[in-house]
C-alpha cells in the first residue's frame, strides 16, 4: 500500500488543481454545431478556448455554451474525424459552426493502448488496425483466422483442422523461454481469458503425442461479426496499460456500438460447405502385406503395412472370413487388389456450416445500443463432429448526465462441441485420422462407414493394429460445453472539458465442462488371409477396458482500472495530455476432474460410478492478482511533433514479497516531417518518423517460490489402466515435489527499441509503414532442468536471455482507380523476425522443450533461434558421398547437431480487391517461408509403407546411389551392399522427419455484389449485399512435404512446443455464400 500512496496523492493533487481555478469575469458564447455534409446536429464536439483549459462539449442538439473572458479569444472546435476549426470570437455572442468530415483523418484513427480513439498522427509506436470490412472479407467462424495475411509480424498456428480448434498467436517472435508467448487479447478494454481448452488423454503433453482433443481458445467464443476492429500492438507502448500480461503484445478488440439514428436491423446469413483438404500423399502401387528380407512380398490381410505385393487388379478378400448368417460357412468381402482412388478424401464427409445473425442498433443523442444474437452451427468434415455456438451481445452507451457517460457491454457465448482426438500414436486407436493413415492403400474407407456391419466390425475388420476409424468417430466421445460471459461497465466523467475521469470494470467468467469417453471393446480372434488364400488365426491385442473422464473448470477474471486524464495547452503550440490511474487484475481458477479406473463395468454407461476400480478425482485451484499503477504524459508541439512518456508499476502475487513490486517505463517520439516540408506540388503527402524505447516487466508463474510435497503421488502412469501409484499396500504416501522453489525470483524484463515510418504518396494511392525493432528479454524466469543427482528435476531461476529483432512492413496500394468507379486496391504485408537465445542458464546452454525419445529434440540453445531441432545427421564424405554401414544403411553422426529451426525466415500476405460499382472481387494470399517441422505422419507412413518415399528402388534391393563404406583406415570404398526400402527408411534416425514448413496459401477468394441503393431503397431497405466465397482453395507446399499442413501442430495455449505434426485432422476447403441485409 505504501507504494500506492504517492500516486493517489498525485492524482488527487492534479484533480484539485484542475478544479480549483476560479472563474474570472466572463461572458457567454453560444451556438449550434452542424454537419457540413448533411446539416445534421453534431453532439459531443469539443469547444475549447484556445490557450486555456476552458472548454465544453456540444449537447445532444448540437448546442454549446461557453463562458469566456470579456475580450477577444479564439474558440477551437474539434471532434475526431472532423476537420478542426479555429474561430475568432471577436464580439460575437452566437457562433454557429459547420464542421466538415476529415476524410484522411477518419481512416487514421487508431485505438490506443488505453482503449480510446486517438488520431494516428499522435501515436509514436507501430500499430495496425484492421477494421470490420477488412477483417471480414469473407465470413469467419473465428476472428483470429481472419487476421491471416492481413497484418505484419503476426504468426498464427492452429491445433487441428477439426471443429472449433485453438489458435496460437505470436507477435514478433517468441520472447519468453518458458512463459506464455501468446498475445494478450483485450476486448473493449478488458483482458479476457484466452487459454486453450484441451481434453483427451490426461497425460497429454504439449506436443500432443498422447492424443488430445482441441476445444479452442476462448477468443473463439466471440462472434467475429460483432467485432468493429482489431488493433495489433507490439511494442512496449502496448504494455503501459495492460502491464506485464501484455509483454507478448496485445490484440485490442473493439466491438460494435450503435450509432445515432433510427433503428437499424441487420440480418446476416452465411452458409458454407467444407471438404477435407488432405495434404498427405500416399503411394498407389503396393498393397497390404509384408516385405521379406529378400525383397519378396507376403500377403497378410491383418497388417497395417502396405509392404505387400504390387497391385495386380486380381480380386481378393480384404475382410476376415466370418460366419454372418449362422450357416456354418464363412463369408467375406472381396475387391480387386488395387489402390483405392481418393481413399483418404473419402474418409471424410462434406462439412456444413450455417451462421445466422441478427443485430439491432440505433440510438439518440443520449443513448445508443447495439444488440445482436447469432448462431453458428457446424458439422465437421468428420462424422459426429459438431460445433454449435450461440452468441448474445449487447453494447449500450448512455449519456447519463451532461458530463457523465457510461457504456455497458455484455456478451455471452454458449458453445457445445463434439470433436475428435488429435495426435497420439496411431496404434492407440484414439485419433481417427491417424488410425486411417495406418491403413493400407487398398482399404476402401467409403465401405467401412457402416461400422456396425459385421464385415467392418471387430470380427471382419482387417486390422490387427488398427480399428475401424468410423467406430472411433461414432463410439468415442470428446465433448465440451463452454459458457463464456464477459461483462464490462465503464463510466466516464468530464467535470470540465479537459479533464476526464474514467473507470472500467470487466468480468470474464468462463466455465468449461469436457468429457472423454472411450468405449469398452475387444477384438475377436480372427482369421487372416496369407499367400495363396491360406488362413491363419490371429489373437489380437486391440482391446479396451473403456474409460470415462470428466473435467469441470471455471475461471473468473476481474479487471478494474480507473484513470484520470488531463489535457492543457501549455503554450499556444504545446499541448499536454497527462493520464494516471491504477489497475486491479485478479484471476481465480478452479478445476475438478474425475475419471474411471481399470475400465468400465457396464459398456456404454459413461458415469464415474461405472468405474471398475474406484474412480479417482483431482482438484486444482489457483488465485493470482496483479495490481498496477500507471501514468503517462504526451507533449504535442504544433500537432506535428509528439513525445510520450509512460510508466507503470506492478505488484504481482506470484513474486516473492520482497520482489513483488516492479517498475517499467517507455518513451516515444514522433514527428510529422511532411508538415515541415513544402510538399504542395510533390507526390509525397505524408511522412511520419517515430521511435520508441521501453521496458516491460513480466511476473512469474504460480506457486514457484517454495518447496512443496505431494500427497499420494502417481509414481508413474503407464496409460489409462496401468498405474503405479500411491496408496501402495494400503499405505498413503508423500513425496517431495521435484521442483526446487525459488524465493528470490525477480520479474522478467524485456527492453525494446523500435524505429519506423509511415508514408503516404500520390494522394493516398500508396501508403506504407515500416518498423525495425529489437528486443532483449533478460532475467527470464526459466524452469531449469537440473541434473537428477541434485535430488530434484527442476528449479526456477532468473537467467535466460532472448533477443528478437526484425522488420515489419506494410504497403497499401491503389494501382488503378478509374472515373467509372473501377478500383483495384492491394495490401501487402511482410515481416521477418530473427530470434536468438543469448543465455539459458549458468549450468546449461540449452533447454529441452520436447523429447519423445525418437532421437530428435526441440530446444532453446544458446546462439540459435528459439526452437531448434537437434539430432544426429546423416554422414557424408568430404566429397558429399553418403557413408553407409555394413548393412548398406545410411549412417549418422554420433554427436548431436542442429537439424533446423521452427522459426520462419519471413511471413507475408497479399490482399487484393477489385471493385466496380457494387461488384467486388478479392483474394487473400499468405505465405510463411522457411522454418521446419517434425512430421510424425512421415515417420508412420514410411514405417507402414504408404509414404511416397517408400517407392525408392521400386522396393527391390538397391544400393544407395554413390554410397561408400568407411574402411578401418579411414578411407572409403564404394558400397555394393543392397538394401530394401523398409530397412532404408526405418533406420532409427529421426532427423530425416524434420521437413520444410514453408507454404503459400490462397486463403480466400470472394465475389461480392452490393445491390444499388436506388433499388434497395425502393423496397425500404438500406443495404443488401451478397457474397460468394471460397477458402483454402490452394496450398503450395515444398516437394518434400507430402505429409501435412505445417501450420497445424499441437494444441494451442501457452506451450512452447511447436511445429510437431502428429496426424491432426487436416484442414478444409470451404465454399460458401453470405447474405447481408440492413433494414
Amino acid at each position: 500500500m505504501r507504494k500506492f500512496l504517492p500516486l493517489l496523492l498525485c492524482l488527487t493533487a492534479v484533480f484539485a488543481f484542475a478544479n480549483s481555478e476560479s472563474r474570472a469575469q466572463s461572458r457567454r458564447v453560444t451556438g449550434k454545431i452542424t454537419s457540413a455534409e448533411d446539416g445534421s446536429l453534431l453532439p459531443g464536439v469539443n469547444v475549447v478556448l484556445k490557450g486555456t483549459t476552458e472548454g465544453t462539449v456540444s449537447d445532444g442538439s448540437g448546442n454549446y455554451a461557453i463562458e469566456i473572458p470579456q475580450a477577444g479569444g479564439t474558440l477551437v472546435f474539434s471532434f475526431i474525424g472532423l476537420i478542426s476549426q479555429e474561430i475568432e470570437v471577436g464580439t460575437r455572442a452566437v457562433i454557429d459552426v459547420q464542421m466538415a468530415q476529415d476524410v484522411q483523418q477518419l481512416t487514421e484513427v487508431v485505438i490506443t493502448a488505453l482503449g480510446t480513439k486517438q488520431n494516428a498522427r499522435e501515436v509514436t509506436y507501430s500499430n495496425q488496425t484492421i477494421g470490420n470490412e477488412d477483417l471480414l472479407t469473407s465470413p469467419n467462424k473465428n476472428a483470429l483466422e481472419a487476421l491471416r495475411g492481413k497484418t505484419a509480424g503476426v504468426k498464427i498456428t492452429t491445433g487441428s483442422g477439426s471443429v472449433g480448434a485453438s489458435s496460437r498467436i505470436v507477435l514478433r517472435g517468441e520472447a519468453s523461454l518458458t512463459g506464455n508467448n501468446n498475445a494478450l487479447i483485450v476486448v473493449d478494454g478488458v483482458p479476457i481469458d484466452n487459454s486453450a481448452t484441451i481434453g483427451g488423454d490426461k497425460n497429454v503433453n504439449a506436443a500432443g503425442e498422447n492424443g488430445y482433443s482441441d476445444y479452442g481458445n476462448r477468443f473463439n467464443d466471440l462472434d467475429p461479426n460483432n467485432i468493429e476492429s482489431i488493433t495489433v500492438l507490439k511494442g512496449p507502448a502496448a504494455t503501459s496499460v495492460y502491464g506485464s500480461r501484455a509483454a507478448s503484445g496485445v490484440l485490442l478488440i473493439t466491438t460494435k456500438t450503435g450509432t445515432k439514428g433510427k433503428l437499424r436491423i441487420n440480418v446476416n446469413s452465411t452458409t458454407s460447405l467444407e471438404r477435407a483438404y488432405v495434404l498427405l500423399k500416399r503411394q498407389n502401387q503396393f498393397g497390404q502385406g509384408l516385405i521379406n528380407p529378400d525383397g519378396t512380398n507376403t500377403i497378410d490381410s491383418g497388417e497395417n503395412f502396405s509392404w505387400g505385393p504390387a497391385f495386380d487388379g486380381v480380386t481378393r478378400p480384404w475382410t476376415s472370413p466370418i460366419d454372418t448368417d449362422d450357416d456354418g460357412d464363412t463369408e467375406w468381402l472381396s475387391r480387386p487388389y488395387n489402390a483405392v482412388e481418393d481413399q483418404l478424401e473419402n474418409l471424410f464427409r462434406t462439412g456444413y456450416t450455417l451462421n445466422n445473425g441478427l443485430s439491432l442498433s440505433g440510438g439518440d443523442e443520449r443513448f445508443t445500443y447495439f444488440t445482436s444474437y447469432s448462431n453458428t452451427s457446424q458439422n465437421g468434415i468428420f462424422e459426429n463432429t459438431e460445433y454449435n455456438r450461440n452468441n448474445f451481445q449487447t453494447n449500450v452507451t448512455a449519456k447519463l448526465h451532461e458530463k457523465l457517460s457510461s457504456t455497458l457491454n455484455l456478451s455471452y457465448a454458449a458453445v457445445t462441441q463434439k470433436t475428435v482426438q488429435e495426435g497420439a500414436r496411431s496404434f492407440e486407436g484414439q485419433n481417427p485420422y491417424a488410425t486411417a493413415i495406418q491403413s493400407p492403400v487398398n482399404i476402401p474407407f467409403s465401405e467401412l462407414r457402416d461400422y456396425k456391419n459385421p464385415f467392418h466390425s471387430f470380427g471382419g475388420y482387417y486390422g490387427t493394429y488398427t480399428i475401424n476409424p468410423y467406430f472411433v468417430l461414432n463410439e468415442f466421445q470428446n465433448n465440451a460445453k463452454i459458457n463464456n460471459l464477459l461483462a464490462n461497465l465503464s463510466l466516464t466523467y468530464n467535470p470540465v472539458a479537459n479533464l476526464t475521469l474514467a473507470t472500467r470494470l470487466g468480468v470474464n467468467y468462463v466455465s468449461v465442462d469436457r468429457i472423454t469417453a472411450v468405449p469398452k471393446y475387444a477384438y475377436e480372434d480372427h482369421y487372416i488371409w496369407e499367400d495363396n488364400l491360406s488362413l491363419v488365426e490371429r489373437t489380437d491385442r486391440q482391446t479396451n477396458a473403456g474409460s470415462y473422464a470428466e473435467e469441470l473448470s471455471n475461471t473468473r477474471n476481474i479487471d478494474w482500472s480507473s484513470t484520470i486524464s488531463y489535457t492543457k495547452d501549455l503554450m499556444p503550440q504545446l499541448k499536454l495530455t497527462a493520464t494516471g490511474g491504477f489497475n486491479y487484475f485478479d484471476v481465480v481458477q478452479r478445476l475438478i476432474s474425475g475419471e474411471t479406473n481399470g475400465g468400465l463395468v457396464v459398456p456404454h454407461v459413461y458415469n464415474l460410478a461405472n468405474s471398475k476400480d474406484r474412480a479417482s478425482a483431482e482438484q486444482d485451484h489457483f488465485h493470482r492478482r496483479i495490481l498496477g499503477a500507471l501514468g503517462s504524459v504526451t507533449f504535442g508541439w504544433d500537432d506535428k511533433i509528439f513525445l510520450t512518456y509512460s510508466a507503470r508499476n506492478d505488484w504481482s502475487s506470484t513474486l516473492p514479497a520482497d520482489n513483488q513490486s516492479f517498475f517499467y517505463q517507455a518513451v516515444g517520439v514522433s514527428g510529422i516531417v511532411s508538415d515541415y516540408l513544402n510538399l504542395e506540388e510533390s507526390a509525397v503527402n505524408y511522412i511520419k518518423l517515430r521511435a520508441d524505447y521501453g521496458t516491460t516487466g513480466k511476473d512469474a508463474g504460480i506457486h514457484q517460490l517454495s518447496n512443496l510435497y505431494e500427497t499420494n503421488p502417481i509414481f508413474r502412469d503407464f496409460g489409462d489402466v496401468y498405474q503405479v501409484k500411491s496408496p501402495l499396500g494400503g499405505q498413503t504416501s508423500i513425496t517431495k515435489r521435484p521442483l526446487i522453489g525459488n524465493n528470490s525470483l525477480r520479474p522478467e524484463l524485456t527492453t525494446t527499441f523500435e524505429v519506423g515510418t509511415d508514408l503516404s504518396f500520390f494522394d493516398g494511392r500508396i501508403e506504407a509503414a515500416y518498423t525495425y525493432y529489437k528486443s532483449n528479454s533478460t532475467d527470464q524466469i526459466v524452469t531449469v532442468d537440473l541434473p537428477r543427482s541434485t535430488g530434484y528435476r527442476t528449479t526456477v531461476l532468473n537467467i535466460g536471455e532472448v533477443q528478437n529483432k526484425g522488420h515489419e512492413a506494410s504497403l497499401t496500394l491503389v494501382p488503378v482507380r478509374l472515373p467509372n468507379s473501377f478500383m483495384w486496391t492491394m495490401n501487402v504485408t511482410y515481416s521477418r523476425n530473427r530470434s536468438k537465445i543469448i543465455k539459458v542458464s549458468d549450468q546449461a546452454d540449452d533447454l529441452t522443450y520436447w523429447d519423445d525419445g525418437s532421437g530428435i529434440t526441440l530446444k532453446a540453445e544458446v546462439g540459435q533461434p528459439f526452437g531448434t531441432w537437434k539430432g544426429q545427421v546423416q554422414r557424408f564424405t568430404p566429397e558429399g558421398q553418403p557413408i553407409v554401414d555394413a548393412n548398406g544403411s545410411r549412417t549418422y553422426t554420433s554427436d548431436i547437431q542442429t537439424v533446423g529451426s521452427i522459426q520462419p525466415d519471413w511471413i507475408g500476405g497479399i490482399v487484393n480487391t477489385f471493385s466496380y460499382k457494387g461488384l467486388s472481387l478479392g483474394f487473400v494470399l499468405d505465405t510463411r517461408q522457411g522454418g521446419t517441422f517434425y512430421s510424425r505422419t512421415k515417420f508412420f507412413t514410411e514405417f507402414n509403407g504408404t509414404a511416397l518415399t517408400t517407392l525408392i528402388g521400386d522396393r527391390k534391393p538397391f544400393v544407395i546411389p554413390n554410397s561408400v563404406v568407411e574402411n578401418s583406415d579411414g578411407t572409403f570404398s564404394p558400397n555394393t551392399k543392397e538394401i530394401l526400402a523398409n530397412a532404408y527408411l526405418d533406420d532409427g534416425n529421426a532427423s530425416k522427419h524434420i521437413i520444410d514448413a514453408s507454404f503459400v496459401k490462397l486463403r480466400e477468394v470472394t465475389l461480392g455484389y452490393e445491390l444499388p441503393k436506388s433499388l434497395v431503397n425502393k423496397i425500404s431497405l438500406q443495404n443488401v449485399s451478397v457474397r460468394f466465397f471460397a477458402k483454402n482453395l490452394k496450398f503450395w507446399l515444398p516437394d518434400e512435404n507430402s505429409y501435412g499442413d505445417p501450420e497445424v501442430n499441437g494444441p494451442g495455449g501457452p506451450t512452447n512446443i511447436q511445429n510437431v505434426e502428429s496426424s491432426q485432422t487436416p484442414p478444409s476447403r470451404s465454399y460458401g455464400i453470405n447474405l447481408n441485409i440492413t433494414l
Binding site: 507376403t298 503407464f718 496409460g719 501402495l728 499396500g729 508423500i734 521435484p738 535430488g791 546449461a844
Partner: protein, 488 residues
C-alpha cells in the same frame, strides 16, 4: 467535486484492502502440502519409486542384457537388443533413483525418528550400490543437495571404490543404531512391516553383497578377512520370510507390478524366452525351465528365440515361442530387492573363496533349493537336480566352482531379479573360462545384427542423456563396453 471525492476515496479504500501483504498469500498452493511430516509417508513414497525404478527400468533392460528374454513377435528389432543404445535409454532409472527415492530417503533420514532414519539409511545404501554396479562412478558425496543452502546444482562424480567403502561404513553405523534403538518403525515399511531385526539382516546381507562384488578383483586378503568377520558375527536373510521385496497389488489395488504396467501400458508383453537361457536350462534338464517360462503354445515345450533374431524370421507368431511364466511376469508380482537364495549363493561363494564358517556345498544346495521352492517346485525336485547336473563338487577348481555358482545364480534371478542377474553375470564372467561371454562356448549369444563383434556385450550403462545435457561439465565419457571397478 463531491462526487469526485467519493470516487477517489472509494478507489483508495479498495486498493488498500486488496494489496500489500495479502498479495503473497494468494500464491500459497492450496493443492499441495508444504511439509512431508516426520517421514513415514515419505518413506512409503521412496519405496514405491524404487520399485518402479528397479523393475520397470533396471530389470526391464537387464532382462535383455542378461539374455533371459528376447524381443519377440509384436515389434521390430529392438535397438537395445542389438546394443545400439542411446544415452536417453537410461534417463528414467537415474531420474527415479536420485530425484525421487534417494531424495525422499534423505528427507526421512533428516526428519524421521532414529529407527526410521536408519532404515532409510540402509535403503539408500542399497540404491547407491545398485547405481555404482550399473553406472560405475556416480555423484555421491555432493549429490542430493539441490535444495540445501548453497546446494550443489552440478554434482561431481565420485570414485566407485570410494563410494563402496563409504557404503560399508554407513551400513555398520545403521546396524549399530538399529540394534539398540527404542524407536519403532510401523506399517509405512512395506518391506518388513517395521521388523528391525530383518532390516539388520538385510543390512548384513547388503554388506556381504558389497564385499563379494570385490572378491575376485579386489584386495583378496582384506576382503576375505572382512567377509569372514561378517559371516561369523552377522545375521542374514535366510528364508522366505526374510525375502526383501516391495509388494504390488495388481488390478485390485490399482497398483500394478511396474514391469507389467510398463509393458501392458505400452506395446504389450512381447518378450519371449531367450534361446540362451532355454539352451542352458535344457542342457541341465532343469525342471525350473517350465516354471520360469510357459510352454510354447504352438509346438509345445520350451522354445526360445535367439537374441535379435526376430527380424530374420519371415512370419513369427507369438504361439511359436515360450513366454515368461506367471512367476516372472504378473500384475501383482512383488519386486524383489534381495532374495534369501541370493544371500545363500553369496555365502556359498564366500565360503568357497575365503573359507568362512559356512559350508560351501551346504550353502549352495540351500540356495538352489530355496529358488526351487520359490518358483513352485519341491525340495525333492531340487535334491534330484543337485545330485545330477548341478551337483556341487567341492574338489573342483575355484574357477569351476565359481562358474557353477555363477550360472546357478544367474538362473535363479531369471524373471525375478534380472538386474542383479546381469550384474553378477558380469562378475562371474572371468578370464580362463568366460562362462557367459566366450565367443564360442559362452552362454550369451551375440545378437543378430549386434553393433559389436562376437563375444562383446554391454558391461555398463551409459550415463543418461539428462546428465550429458544438464551436468555436462562433470559427466565422464562413457562407452557401453566400459567396466565398473570390480569387473574382471
Amino acid at each position: 467535486m463531491k462526487t469526485t471525492k467519493i470516487i477517489l476515496t472509494t478507489i483508495a479504500l479498495f486498493v488498500m484492502v486488496s494489496c500489500g501483504d495479502q498479495l503473497a498469500e494468494l500464491n500459497v498452493d492450496p493443492n499441495e502440502s508444504s511439509t512431508g511430516g516426520d517421514g513415514p509417508e515419505v518413506f512409503t513414497s521412496a519405496t514405491g519409486y524404487y520399485g518402479l525404478a528397479l523393475d520397470a527400468f533396471f530389470n526391464e533392460d537387464n532382462g535383455l542384457f542378461a539374455q533371459y528374454v528376447a524381443g519377440g513377435p509384436g515389434v521390430a528389432l529392438l535397438d537395445l537388443e542389438r546394443y545400439f543404445i542411446e544415452p536417453t535409454e537410461f534417463n528414467n532409472e537415474w531420474l527415479y533413483s536420485y530425484s525421487d527415492c534417494l531424495s525422499d530417503l534423505k528427507y526421512v533420514n533428516q526428519n524421521g525418528n532414529e529407527a526410521l532414519a536408519n532404515v532409510a539409511e540402509i535403503f539408500s545404501v542399497m540404491i547407491y550400490q545398485n547405481l555404482v554396479d550399473q553406472f560405475g562412478d556416480v555423484p555421491y558425496f555432493n549429490a542430493l543437495t539441490g535444495a540445501d543452502e548453497g546446494g550443489n546444482m552440478a554434482p561431481t562424480y565420485d570414485d566407485s571404490k570410494t563410494i563402496y567403502d563409504d557404503l560399508v561404513v554407513r551400513l555398520d553405523a545403521a546396524i549399530e543404531v538399529l540394534s539398540d534403538t527404542e524407536e519403532e518403525v510401523g506399517a509405512e515399511d512395506l518391506i518388513y512391516g517395521g521388523d528391525l531385526e530383518r532390516w539388520i539382516k538385510l543390512a548384513n546381507s547388503l554388506k556381504l553383497r558389497l564385499l563379494m562384488r570385490q572378491s575376485i578383483t579386489g584386495d583378496q586378503a582384506a576382503i576375505g578377512q572382512q567377509v569372514r568377520d561378517l559371516i561369523s558375527s552377522g545375521t542374514f536373510l535366510d528364508g522366505p520370510a526374510d525375502l526383501a521385496r516391495i509388494p504390488f497389488g495388481g488390478a485390485t489395488g490399482q497398483n500394478y507390478n511396474p514391469q507389467f504396467a510398463r509393458r501392458e501400458g505400452g506395446v504389450g508383453q512381447f518378450y519371449v524366452a531367450s534361446k540362451s537361457s532355454v539352451d542352458v536350462l535344457t542342457s541341465l534338464n532343469d525342471p525350473r525351465g517350465l516354471a520360469i517360462y510357459d510352454e510354447a503354445e504352438g509346438p509345445g515345450g520350451l522354445v526360445g528365440l535367439k537374441q535379435g533374431d526376430i527380424n530374420e524370421l519371415v512370419s513369427p507368431k507369438p504361439a511359436d515361442f515360450s513366454f515368461p511364466s506367471a512367476v516372472a511376469y504378473g500384475e501383482a508380482n512383488d519386486v524383489i530387492l534381495m532374495s534369501h537364495w541370493e544371500v545363500r549363493f553369496l555365502r556359498a561363494e564366500a565360503a568357497m573363496r575365503f573359507g568362512t564358517s559356512d559350508n560351501e556345498k551346504a550353502m549352495y544346495d540351500a540356495a538352489v533349493t530355496a529358488h526351487f521352492i520359490h518358483v513352485g517346485l519341491t525340495p525333492a525336485d531340487a535334491s534330484a537336480y543337485l545330485q545330477g547336473n548341478a551337483a556341487y563338487d567341492e574338489g573342483a577348481t575355484t574357477l569351476q566352482k565359481s562358474d557353477l555358482i555363477g550360472v546357478q545364480k544367474w538362473i535363479s534371478m531369471n524373471g525375478l531379479q534380472e538386474s542383479e542377474g546381469w550384474i553378477e553375470s558380469r562378475r562371474f564372467d572371468q578370464p580362463g573360462s568366460n562362462v557367459f561371454t566366450h565367443p564360442t562356448n559362452g552362454i550369451f549369444e551375440t545378437p543378430s545384427r549386434s553393433v559389436f563383434p562376437a563375444g562383446v556385450f554391454p558391461t555398463i550403462r551409459l550415463y543418461p542423456q539428462s546428465e550429458i545435457s544438464l551436468n555436462a561439465q562433470n559427466v565422464p565419457a562413457r562407452v557401453i563396453t566400459d567396466k565398473v571397478f570390480w569387473d574382471n
